[in-house]
């Protein structure tokens, strides 16, 4: 995504769109973390508390 010497720098609108995309991506990643965590707990169920230590 690097821009050459002959190309215009990012405009404020470009930067704003990029920032919003980054935030959306961060939220999606955070959502995936929650998804995998909760699914792991659900899949383990109550048995996790009864395991031999």
């Amino acid at each position: 995504m690097s821009r050459g010497m002959d190309q215009k720098p990012f405009s404020p609108e470009d930067m704003s769109r990029r920032r919003k995309r980054s935030i959306a991506l961060a939220l999606v990643l955070a959502g995936l973390v929650v998804l995998f965590f909760v699914t792991t707990i659900v899949r383990l169920g109550g048995d996790v508390a009864l395991r031999n230590l």
Binding site: R17, A24, L35, V38, V42
Partner: protein, 316 residues
């Protein structure tokens, strides 16, 4: 296909990519199609009456929705050239130049792989395999092959849109059954009258783009006949879930009333052939067909929520 792609890559605004907004990427997912997919998949999940944990059901629906979105993005990547020629689709992000074809492709592939993996790892393999096949069928069989080569494109391609309730069913039970196939058949038979009604009042659009839709290949009269024929097959097919013991009296009554209305609209399309009344009849059938499918699957869900007992299985 390459023309529009090279045109887009030559424009300075989009030359470097990274111009798309969050909204543009959301549009790539075809959210309105996605909503119907989520709804029909939910109906499949609920109708299956498997013992899936509610959280896993939610995960399954999310994965199916993202898989449908991935299909939409791949479709918009490949079809950018013809989308640019049709009024209905010219403003989509790729033909508009907001998102580069390569970006749409990458986005679609990443979501496709992610959704199938999540469904396979967190729910079950059968549902994941069906989702993968559905994405492949829509993106490759329908978009890349059938859409531009045969007026039967949406008849066969309609299978892609018909799989979601089967995937929902498989997510709940880990299996494919005759009862889940009946839900598939309903959407499969519904697709031709739905799309041909659209094609009849958007005929110019498809002809300009060179897409061989039924009206611009076989003519409007033949299309009207085919719409009526498919509608006459569709309505009996909607009673299959009751005969198979999936649904009960509420669904059957709702389906009978809706089916009568659907046939009335289809007959109107067949009867009215000239001018504005003919166009209006096509628009009415198109609009009603969306409501029809939502209502049928809503009846399936409502029956389960209200705990209406299904009929005893008659066939299968």
């Amino acid at each position: 296909m390459s023309d529009i792609h090279s045109d887009i890559s030559d424009t300075s605004a989009a030359a470097q990519g990274g111009q798309g907004s969050v909204g543009d990427y959301w549009t790539l997912l075809k959210p309105r199609v996605m909503s119907l997919v989520i709804f029909t998949a939910l109906a499949g999940l609920v109708a299956a009456s498997g013992d899936i944990h509610p959280w896993l059901a939610l995960v399954a629906l999310l994965a199916i929705a993202v898989g449908a979105g991935a299909s939409g993005a791949l479709n918009m990547w490949y079809d950018a050239d013809i989308d640019a020629l049709m009024a209905r689709t010219a403003n989509r992000p790729v033909p508009r130049g907001a998102i580069l074809p390569g970006e749409a492709l990458g986005f679609g592939l990443a979501l496709a792989a992610g959704s199938v993996l999540v469904l396979g790892l967190l729910v079950n393999i059968v549902a994941a395999a069906l989702l993968a096949f559905t994405i492949f069928f829509y993106a490759v069989i329908y978009t890349m092959w059938l859409k531009r080569s045969t007026p039967q494109n949406i008849v066969i391609g309609g299978a892609a849109g018909a799989f979601p309730p089967m995937i929902g069913w498989a997510a709940a039970t880990g299996s494919v059954t005759l009862a889940s196939f009946a839900l598939f058949l309903i959407i499969f038979m519904w697709t031709p009258p739905h799309f041909w009604a659209l094609a009849l009042f958007r005929e110019g659009d498809y002809a300009r783009a060179g897409v061989p839709m039924m009206p611009n290949v076989a003519g409007a009269d033949e299309t009207r006949k085919q719409i009526l024929l498919y509608s006459l097959i569709l309505v009996p097919v909607t009673f299959l879930p009751s005969l198979l013991g999936t649904t009960g009296v509420l669904y059957t009554i709702v389906t009978a009333l809706l089916g009568a209305a659907f046939l009335w609209h289809a007959f109107d399309v067949f009867r009215l052939r000239e001018g504005e009344p003919a166009r209006r009849a096509c628009r009415r059938l198109f609009g009603f067909s969306i409501l029809y499918l939502f209502a049928i699957f809503a009846a399936i869900i409502a029956e389960r929520i209200l705990a209406v007992a299904p009929f005893t299985q008659v066939i299968g």
